[in-house]
Symmetry: C2
Subunit: 458 residues, 2 copies
Amino acid sequence: MKLDVRQIYEDIDKYMDQEIVIQGWIRNHRKQKEFGFIDFFDGTHFNTVQIVYDNSLEDFSTISKYRVGSAITVEGKMVKSPKEQQLFEVVARKVKLEGDSPEDYPIQPKRHTREFLREVAYLRPRTNLFQAVFRIRSLAAFAIHQYFNDRGYLYVHTPLITANDGEGAGEMFQVTTLDLEKIKDGKVDYSKDFFGKKVGLTVTGQLEGETMAMAFKKIYTFGPTFRAEKSNTKTHASEFWMIEPEIAFCDLNELMDIEEDMLKYIIKYVLTNAKYEYEMLDKYVEPGLVKKLTAFVDSEAARITHEEAINLLLSSGKNFEFTPMHGQDIAKEHEKFLTEHFNSPVFVKDWPKDIKAFYMKLNPDNKTVAAVDLLVPGSGELMGGSQREEDHDKLVARMKEMNVPEEDLWWYLNLRKFGGCYHSGFGMGFERLLMYITGIDNIRDVTLYARTPGNCEF
Amino acid sequence: MKLDVRQIYEDIDKYMDQEIVIQGWIRNHRKQKEFGFIDFFDGTHFNTVQIVYDNSLEDFSTISKYRVGSAITVEGKMVKSPKEQQLFEVVARKVKLEGDSPEDYPIQPKRHTREFLREVAYLRPRTNLFQAVFRIRSLAAFAIHQYFNDRGYLYVHTPLITANDGEGAGEMFQVTTLDLEKIKDGKVDYSKDFFGKKVGLTVTGQLEGETMAMAFKKIYTFGPTFRAEKSNTKTHASEFWMIEPEIAFCDLNELMDIEEDMLKYIIKYVLTNAKYEYEMLDKYVEPGLVKKLTAFVDSEAARITHEEAINLLLSSGKNFEFTPMHGQDIAKEHEKFLTEHFNSPVFVKDWPKDIKAFYMKLNPDNKTVAAVDLLVPGSGELMGGSQREEDHDKLVARMKEMNVPEEDLWWYLNLRKFGGCYHSGFGMGFERLLMYITGIDNIRDVTLYARTPGNCEF
């Protein structure tokens, strides 16, 4: 009976004393004169399986030479293990080599630095650390889909190639089929380009998402977005996945409720479904990680206004590198102070309008917008949301002020004419979430093959 | 109590005779002297809700002027409907206008052509047809995630910006941050480009997916892919979503089992969860749709070799525009004949090597590869899969034959050195699937904002 290791761990009793076939890889191999012990994994479960074989096997000496990293098929019997801490082992009747691995296989059973592992990024998923990270990534993605699907949200695929700059920040990659080597004197004829005009990679699916919220009430996107920003930091990548829910008939307070509820749901889901992975992360990556996450699930995120945040920072008595100022953005060090002060995620709302995007709803004070950022310990801003400006004329005025071209967004403006309503939405960077829930401090280590300035390998 | 229409339809008894608040849009509005009837939808359920109001309301005459398309908040009581076919209606105590809609609102309650609706693509999600299509799109996506998650597959996000051409077909969009208008005499300095080299948008996540299958055994991708192909047909888009599972220790027969099982799972899921949507599609879009899908779930897909397929075509006595030939590709008309002949989806396997990609496993006959296409009635090729060439030297030889640059794919080749194993995978175009399961015959009508040659609107 061919089994995944996951199936075995889910029902050990069922398979005990049964003949089974498992297929996977050698993580470690110890040989003695009469016995051999293979630490076996197949990637479907965090735990390895101990394979025991002895010299009664005809090809004992051949098997004993199988190297770390090799792919094997094992036929054998599941038995109770003599070792107390081990629930079972497999006594092999046959160990077939499916694919060899050379002496210089880079992933040996020892500690590797994360820097080294980035260089062999195509092999690092076979290590304990990345088995945990990518399993949690997959589980968290599923939790997100389940959360929204169960609540009647529509999952929407917004386009990635776009002719409009949704954030108005001008940090877009250009997409083209023009032959650059045929461009003479900078004369570019976009009528000859694939789409007949200049296009780029989207920085957000929000605006298109809003068109769907005006038809399905509750929608979310979950897809890649891009920033051609030359930031070489631990938290920036040029290509990353975003979740962007958009909800009609929803104000800023209801939005914060949804953000918090969703985040707690995801955390509970991964803590429950990645128990062994979390044991390891808690031990080797961020001591206290499980406690931090559990505490958040059991508590409430703080909610303060931007003004209150600045007052808190000013009265803290701390010497910040950047002095906190009313009307100004909040620096990393300030975010850190706030999350430590509350010892939990913190919603900061009602931001100065001049440092926020054009589509955010102007508050009655005419100075702030109904925007909210969620700051989390360790990875800073995790979600950014706002109530959207639903008043057509106010929105046009903001676009003029901020030099956002109206002609590209005629349809977005029209949403305010054809049955518009108050509505809100937020964006959550998926990799930022993963950093928070795994304790990994570099976005390159929660991404399969990260794209950053100067780096597009694999 | 604020409710989604979906919540009401899921438990009508629970809310009967209760005071409720619902928020959504006017699909239709009939006014009489003493009564008004609003056909109300909020996008969370396919069915509308009848709102009744009478002239005992203070603002009766104002309400009676609310136009089709307007957003409203309704407070009222759920009551049994006097009409037999209607399970309930809402007697309004208050109808508040949230957002007006002008006289010339394009989505009036009448039949619109799909061509017209494409022009107002940002509003068409509010029509019956697109409520059904996009709900099924969302449900099908969820079914896919659930299918794979339940079976222990890892969900993988492969990069979209890439320096390699995974299919070797050369139909990639280029991605750049170079200022095209500063290019002089075609001199392009890629060391100055964002990633320091020439990059483009991926045509497949398969190669990167294989690196993950060699660590997690069973993985799948579900993300956007791109083709800069100037095909202006009903089935081609330049940007579309693909599902690409990749399974270690899996041969071609097991792969077909997985493909068929997954497809049946998705179909059962949408038929169960989109009952009302399917009633409408079956009536107005593809008569017999539900029967077609149910029949497939209850039957088995045919499985034939490419050679058998050609023989079948040749002996059919049909006059094809393109004569079927051994060793050659199969045309649309041939696909159509085959699916009609078997009256079910058809797997065609063991294709001539010269018309297939470099990474497919060479069969012992040295002429064919272990590839399989699934053809489905109405949308032709739905999935393409293969066992992958796991032999390093044979793979290199194929790459040389087909001019696929080895230096870009050193890591892919290395997978055959470091614990490689027999493995298989397939790709399914998500929009093709949607065309098959909705009966919609144009890819532009299952995509929110389609990208096709010369077309990048919204």
